[in-house]
């Protein structure tokens, strides 16, 4: 069955849809966590610490977190590889373009592909910036995420990268959520409106929620 799924264009789209939904669920949790920053360093840092102790005593310190990270890495890789392979197939299927160009023709496809690449690059930067601290702007302090976040969003480029990526995320979710529903076959004529609205609302809330943090830092609400 795994073979059938992976070899088929419809199957690969299913892989993209499922991995996309996993990432989406993660993002919902992520944005809720992020918003704790507005309640002060204490609560935010406490939450960050709790992430490492979830599941204790059944799980060892950081096991749950690593489990989530593994699932996420698998999801990201599956999503990206499928996307890459499907895109290759799509480009091969339409090697020559029409002489008469139509501007709107592939808007959604283009935004999905470019948006995906922007997001992939962003994830790398994001981890190097706030998880490992490798490219962090100030003095990165392990265990003090509040300060680290404030440092990042005190630079202009930190804000630009982040906000651009979050806008890309919004567009990606907007088409991706509805798209995943179609791929998984849960769309229908009667449900179509509801799915589109849910996708739009999710995209809006997640983008707004994430962007609230840099905006908070810039406006001094968070310092």
């Amino acid at each position: 069955m795994a073979r059938t799924v992976w070899d088929s264009s419809v199957g690969k789209k299913t892989v993209m849809a499922v991995s996309g939904v996993i990432m989406l669920l993660y993002l919902v949790a992520h944005v809720i966590g992020n918003l704790k920053i507005f309640f002060g360093a204490g609560e935010f840092n406490h939450y960050a610490h709790w992430l490492r102790t979830v599941g204790e005593p059944f799980m060892h310190y950081e096991w749950t977190l690593w489990l989530i990270r593994i699932v996420l890495v698998v999801a990201v890789v599956a999503h990206a590889v499928s996307a890459y392979q499907l895109s290759r197939r799509d480009i091969r299927a339409r090697p020559s373009k029409y002489v008469h160009k139509k501007p709107a023709a592939s808007y959604a496809t283009r935004t999905m592909r470019w948006g995906g690449i922007i997001l992939a690059l962003f994830i790398v930067w994001h981890i190097l910036d706030l998880t490992t601290g490798t490219v962090h702007s100030g003095g990165f302090q392990q265990g003090h995420p509040y300060q680290n976040v404030v440092d990042t969003f005190s630079t202009w480029y930190g804000n630009v990268i982040y906000i651009v990526a979050m806008l890309a995320l919004g567009l990606h979710i907007q088409h991706g959520f509805w798209s995943a529903a179609q791929t998984l076959g849960v769309g229908s004529r009667t449900r179509d409106r509801a799915l589109k609205i849910t996708g739009n609302v999710l995209a809006l809330l997640l983008t707004a929620g994430f962007i609230a943090v840099p905006v908070g830092v810039m406006t001094g609400v968070v310092s």
């Binding site: 091969r92 299927a93 339409r94 002489v99 008469h100 808007y107 959604a108 496809t109 088409h175 179609q182």
Partner: protein, 249 residues
Amino acid sequence: MKLTLRVWRQKNADAEGTMSTYEVDNISSDMSFLEMLDTLNEELILKGEDPVAFDHDCREGICGACSLVINGDAHGPERTTTCQLHMRSFKDGDTIDIEPWRASAFPVIKDLVVDRSAFDRIIQSGGYITAPTGAAPEAHATPVPKPDADFAFEHAECIGCGACVAACPNGAAMLFTSAKINHLNTLPQGAPERETRVLDMVAQMDEEGFGGCTLTGECATACPKGIPLMSITSMNKEWLRATRKVAKR
């Protein structure tokens, strides 16, 4: 009307193609688009030039032979087949670009004529109900609920013209394939082959080198018969269901 036409000319499958420019005059707005091309061809023949080759047959919008991309739109600006497009959709002095369907699964044969046999092979892979002649039960033995019959009919309307592939930025044949799957899989008569049908047809569709679906909706917009985009959703559902079922066997 006086028009400038820019037409894709390509001597044969192996030749390089290019856009050539022609002027046509005295075009009536009551003419169909193909009759306008007939006029051009009559002039070309008399001038000793090679007339423009294009596929057409019934000129009633049902056989699915005609297949022109007009100003970037499969079948042109109206939602219909090329043969049912009339010149009243254009204005005097317009420049019209005419190109063939473009997809690697639809290689150009000559000028505006492409090879769509990939569609036939998709149907051959499972787009039928096995019912040899003579083996049929009485027609009323199996009632079909009207909504199911109507749903099947809406998808059975596909004329196999390939506009969906031509319009899709990925050259995907999902709408064509899903239309046939939904037609047959909805009917009780199609149930025994429900799983193999969708799996085999999707596999053949991939095999032919069509692209995948990114749900841009271009196919459904171009479809002269109004097959809805949701048809692809239903096919995906059928495919997942079949994959699960077959795995359990």
